[in-house]
Subunit: 199 residues, 2 copies
DNA sequence: CATCTAATTAGATGTTTATTAAATTAGATG
DNA sequence: CATCTAATTTAATAAACATCTAATTAGATG
């Protein structure tokens, strides 16, 4: 249900420590220890808050050796706010709502079938509709608005599947991403789709 | 401090009952009893939530006999969200920050001196700078974007001071409001000023 | 002024949540 | 494999919060 997501989003931002974390991350990625230091709290507290921010997709994480670097998920920060206003004003009609729920259930089942428990892609579905769901689910984990080099995209895709070349091609073919001389950017229109892929 | 306001705003929206209240109010004003009925909670609970929504200026209230009607404060709902994003990204430089704080202190002192405890205007300051602060403080209590008839504006101003004609004229003169054939609307540019007048 | 109505306050209860210290895990490196 | 580092989990504590019932207040009206 839409309402729960909105409430979760606002809960995530309803704490001064978490807002301060986001402000710090706006200057660039930081790891847990540094955040703990700058905010004068213990690392355990950072873990706690990071979990809440991750649940609502406000931050991304990247591991390098033992260290986990947190960064902002610009997309979610900038666009979830609108969703609140939309929910309040264009109050959802019953019909649309159940339609939407069904749509989401289908997506979740495809995701369950084609991804392993730890998030790897088992295989790329051949059926177009399912393939799009899978691609969207992967691309949703990129940072909105950020420019990626081809190497960065390849490395990113490799987290999900070895055949990065095929998937990268599919991204472009189905316009999940745009490419301009070696630089890749996510399609801005993916924003609403992204919202729905929130668990 | 800016941070506290942002956190309060998100706290206000971090509860399903309050979001549902706002959704109901989007269709028009409602009183406490009706809200309690529609949301299956007691009137006491509505009072509790209304207080939180009022503190962050998300709703307005209007009394008619024994009944208090709640309505949305469109302005705050639509614009506070942006403030969050701004706070995170354009992280405030120390200098600006203290400047701002001083500015706010001045305003608060003028408001303390020219308004009674229950919010009536003692007198209109003659000094321009102070007069503008007073006018802004009154106009901030209007609903953003709503069209008011001259009678409505007069009645509104009478809540603060008997000489509604003078104050109405001042509103127009200093462009806190615009008038087009008997219809009054708040100047949209007042939005940021409004934000600052939040207690 | 007695009564009615709508709203608020006060007090109680159960839940959620922010934080910490201490124990544990996950991964890297000598 | 022993050790180091960064992160997480667990358990405990205290504060904040949503909700209710019951008592009270504020206005209106006969």
């Amino acid at each position: 249900m839409q309402l729960d997501k909105i409430v979760s989003y606002h809960k995530a931002l309803a704490d001064p420590t978490r807002i301060k974390m986001l402000i710090l991350l706006a200057d660039g990625e930081l790891n847990g220890q540094v955040l703990a230091e700058k905010l004068s709290v213990t690392p355990a507290t950072i873990t706690h808050h990071a979990a809440k921010l991750r649940e609502t997709r406000l931050i991304n994480e990247r591991r390098d050796k033992n260290t986990i670097y947190f960064s902002l998920n610009d997309y979610f920060i900038k666009n979830n706010a609108n969703a609140t206003v939309q929910l309040i004003y264009r109050s959802v009609k019953e019909g649309e709502n159940t339609m939407d729920d069904k749509h989401i259930r289908v997506k979740q089942s495809v995701i369950r079938n084609f991804f392993t428990a730890d998030g790897k892609l088992k295989s790329l579905p051949s059926q177009l509709k399912k393939k799009l769901i899978v691609l969207e689910n992967i691309v949703a984990k990129l940072e909105y608005g950020r420019k990626y080099s081809e190497k960065e995209i390849n490395d990113f895709i490799k987290h999900f599947h070895d055949d990065f070349a095929t998937i990268r091609r599919e991204f472009i073919m189905h316009q999940f991403m745009f490419r301009e001389n070696e630089i890749y950017v996510m399609n801005p229109q993916e924003m609403w789709a992204r919202w729905e892929t929130l668990s």
